[in-house]
Symmetry: C2
Subunit: 125 residues, 2 copies
């Protein structure tokens, strides 16, 4: 068995309120991290909540990046999900830690699609 995808789930703590609450900056940070990690950006959509908070997703050829921010808590949940061997999700995660100026980050990697039969995967790759 091999995994089809690598999914990094990251918790960003102690980020500046104004960074997490700025729709355009959040969008720019996420798209730029995808590009800088070598991903191919297909679509993206971001939404600003009232009174605060931003949610958004970047669909990449290799899967997606997602973020939800709680500016009042200095917290953002960040997902970087990649398939294939070309893009390392941890690269994007490290770039995002910098661009969101996170004081601390907790992250884990979850393997996705582990139980697709090997002979089928072999045909696909």
């Amino acid at each position: 068995m091999r995994a089809l995808g690598r999914h990094v789930l990251a918790e960003f703590y102690d980020c500046p309120f104004e960074v997490l609450n700025d729709l355009k900056q959040v969008e720019r940070n996420m798209v730029q991290a995808a590009l800088d990690a070598g991903a191919e950006v297909r679509e993206f959509v971001f939404h600003k909540f009232s009174p605060q908070g931003v949610s958004g997703v970047v669909v990449i050829s290799e899967s997606h990046l997602a973020i939800h921010t709680w500016p009042e808590l200095g917290y953002a949940s960040v997902d970087v999900f990649t398939c294939g061997d070309r893009v390392d999700p941890w690269d994007a995660c490290k770039i995002l830690k910098e661009s969101f100026q996170a004081g601390s980050v907790e992250a884990q990697e979850i393997a996705r699609g582990m139980n697709v039969p090997l002979h089928k995967v072999a045909v696909n790759f």
Copy 2:
């Protein structure tokens, strides 16, 4: 400490090729599952890949649903991430298992935002 969000990561196996490869059907299934689970849909974006496969995300007020399909493997990775107590991510997951006609599903729930200081969360809720 309490979690800010609940994130269900599900692996859908043995789904029909034609269901996983139909952009409009995938989009409809995802949006409908969000609505039927009681979520408020804000934005959605879906993308069809060549020669096959669909990726897409539904941004909801409560966070997001995401899917990536490998029709040739009968496989889809499905994420349902919800914050707050109003929507149960497992409800959407069960609805999606039916609408994608998955032969089997493996799923796990990951708590998100566990280490936001409690006094800050108390203000937010």
